[in-house]
């Protein structure tokens, strides 16, 4: 696989950062500290990180309602994100977007998105811009197993093939859209095949294993960078929390959550996978754990102390300019 020590440590750090960001957000929501609708990415970290480890420069991602993980993996400022969840005017989006709209255009993050299926068409546009400019950059859209049934997602996939643009479609199958299982909502038996029938290769990955996602993503992204048009990644994964915070999760099998946390925890799996590697040691990872905990603590402390927006800010940022130009 040829991942450098630096890459390995960064990957672990990001997965751990996402995990702790989400677990802390969960706790703070339960404390009544965070308003709005928040969807946590806990359990799916390896998907975001395995893909984003391949990205740099003006490669872009676009995310979903479950967007924290993708944004952190692509390099969004964690403290700015926590402030955004708190609704501070110092948040990444000045408190105007919140959890579902975290974005950081300068860092290649075209936003979380509250509309299921909202992202893929926009990502095709970002990919088109890359193609017109003749770069080898790619545009990645993340989507859930539920979002693949939204018409906009289908249209985006076909258009990407027609225009032969470097659009990477990542489907994260966590088996549920809200409370509905994929076995009900996706009519066909084989979603990977249905996706491939649109005319691009789809690479399958175990979404709880960073190395597996990294490898599949590498193939898909390379396919795109070579100018072969779009590609897909289909990752099986699991979310450790409910659809939203407070979800009673009546849909789960008995023991499902325990099993997920026990056997599909990307952090544990990463530690196991790297146990024999000379490049990194358990104490490297322990050190990262401590640093991440410190960062997340700090992000919450800062978010709590951060300035609140003022009423006059409501009408700012609607337009760049409005009225006579």
């Amino acid at each position: 696989m040829g991942l450098s020590r630096e890459s390995l440590l960064r990957a672990y750090r990001q997965m751990k950062t996402i995990r702790e960001f989400e677990e802390r957000a969960h706790a703070e929501i339960m404390n009544g500290q965070i308003a709005g609708f928040t969807h946590l990415y806990t359990g799916q970290e390896a998907n975001a990180v395995g893909v984003c480890e391949h990205l740099s420069g003006s490669d872009t991602i676009i995310s979903t309602h479950r967007g924290h993980g993708h944004c952190i993996a692509r390099g969004a400022d964690v403290i700015g994100m926590m402030k955004e969840l708190w609704g501070s005017s110092e948040g990444l989006c000045k408190g105007k977007g919140g959890s579902m709209h975290v974005a950081d255009i300068e860092n290649g993050i075209l936003g979380a998105n509250g509309i299921v299926g909202g992202g893929p068409p926009i990502s095709v546009g970002a990919a088109l811009a890359q193609k017109i400019r003749g770069t080898t950059n790619v545009a990645v859209s993340f989507a859930g197993d539920g979002s693949v049934n939204q018409g906009t997602t289908f249209e985006a996939m076909n258009l990407a093939v027609v225009l032969k643009v470097p659009a990477v479609f990542v489907i994260e199958n966590n088996y549920y859209s809200e409370h509905t299982n994929i076995s009900y909502a996706v009519g066909c038996d084989d979603l990977k095949a249905r996706t491939e029938a649109f005319g691009f290769p789809v690479f399958v990955a175990d979404g709880s294993n960073f190395f597996d996602v990294y490898e599949a993503a590498g193939k898909a992204i390379e396919h795109c960078r070579q100018g072969n048009g779009p590609a897909g990644i289909f990752a099986e994964t699991g979310r450790f929390h409910g659809h939203f915070v407070g979800d009673p999760q009546d849909y789960r099998a008995e023991g499902e959550l325990d099993d997920l946390r026990e056997n599909s925890d990307c952090l544990k799996i990463f530690r196991t996978n790297t146990a024999d590697m000379s490049e990194i040691s358990a104490s490297d990872l322990d050190a990262i754990d401590a640093e991440v905990m410190e960062l997340i603590d700090r992000s919450v402390t800062e978010a709590k102390a951060a300035p609140r927006p003022t009423p006059d800010q409501v009408t700012e940022d609607v337009y760049i300019n409005y009225g006579a130009a």
Binding site: A35, C93, K96, M100, H101, V116, R308
Partner: protein
């Protein structure tokens, strides 16, 4: 008769309508819930807002139908079934999602009857949770009913309390034209006295929520309660107001509104949507065209600003019209 929340009142209306008429069914995302899930607990969700709770258990999978996340197909399925004589009640969860299914609502369902020369009926109801108040930000907080009001062929309902919600829902289901039913989600948990038996509230008949002499206040959805609060707080200052809740924005009870303006000579219109081409302009324009000679003062419109809905609780509080802003408007119009 007992205290019921708007959530329970609508749920009760659905239960009663489905029990009474075999052709009524509900369809939407997780309206049953847990379909295909390993727990096997199909039906326990009853919609993410709980409005369709118990329907699966009572009426089974053919009448409480879960769907993929495919809003155009959901509305189309309702529209097509209604053309065949069924009475579907589809749930589109957040009104904002009209964005992904507007064609089926506006260009299909809403126009069948006209384009087909009056030879079809489409008794479909589409339900939405509408409006702000949950820090749900730009894509989960829009009212949208003002936009839908502009499209001929659709009837548009916006209840402001649990009692009306039940009666309007039963009318919506019985109505032979397509009905869009916008439920102010800020009111789901607000309760009032709601009869246990079935009753219908006719469309196009406004409710006179307060009666007074000085100002006509017209308010919609979750603004009705705030307007009532504003009016009540002005009691000691001696200003009294008519408070009109149109309940349906299309058809609109222009008669009640115009008669009130003729009596008071002053108009305040309150809606939570942004200010352009919406219901505050609609009612203000009605007054300017049809009650001009009665008006003694400029019409005051109270709305959200021309901005998307912000996330931050402080910003959203400044965004949605408040009791204070309504009080100020009433004072301004009587100044």
């Amino acid at each position: 008769m007992s205290q019921k929340t708007m959530r329970d009142a609508i749920n009760e209306a659905l239960h009663q309508a489905m029990a009474e008429d075999d052709s009524v069914f509900v369809i939407g995302e997780d309206v049953a819930g847990c379909n295909g899930a390993p727990s096997g607990k199909v039906g326990v969700t009853g919609g993410v807002f709980g409005i369709t709770g118990g329907l699966y258990e009572k009426f089974g999978p053919l009448r409480c139908i879960d769907t993929p996340i495919s809003e155009s197909a959901i509305v189309g399925a309702a529209a097509g079934a209604a053309l065949m004589g069924m009475r579907p009640v589809a749930e589109i969860m957040f009104a904002d999602f009209i964005g992904v299914c507007m064609d089926q609502i506006v260009n299909q369902m809403g126009k069948f009857r006209y384009m087909f020369g009056g030879k079809s009926e489409c008794p479909a109801v589409i339900r939405f949770a509408a409006g702000g108040g949950f820090s749900a930000a730009g894509q989960h907080s829009q009212a949208m009913y003002q936009v839908m009001t502009s499209f001929p062929g659709l009837k548009v309902v916006v209840p402001s309390n649990a009692y009306d919600a039940k009666g309007l829902m039963l009318q919506a289901i019985a109505d032979n034209d397509p009905v869009l039913f916008f439920e102010p989600k800020a009111l789901y948990q607000v309760a009032c006295e709601v009869p246990d038996e079935m009753y219908k509230i006719p469309f196009g008949e406004a409710a006179m929520v307060r009666e007074g002499d000085d100002v006509t206040v017209v308010a919609f959805g979750q603004m009705v309660g705030k307007a009532a609060e504003a009016i009540d707080s002005l009691e000691e200052s001696g200003i009294t107001c008519d408070l009109i809740d149109p309940r349906t924005t299309s058809p609109l009870d222009t008669k009640t509104i115009l008669e009130s303006i003729e009596a008071t000579g002053r108009l305040v219109v309150v809606d939570e949507a942004p200010p352009r081409c919406g219901l505050t302009t609609d009612i203000a324009a009605l007054a300017a065209s049809k009650a001009f000679h009665s008006l003694k003062a400029p019409v005051v419109q109270v709305s959200a600003p021309h901005s998307p809905t912000p996330f931050s609780p402080e910003l959203e509080a400044a965004y949605i019209p408040s009791v204070e802003r309504i009080v100020a408007a009433i004072k301004e119009v009587t100044a």
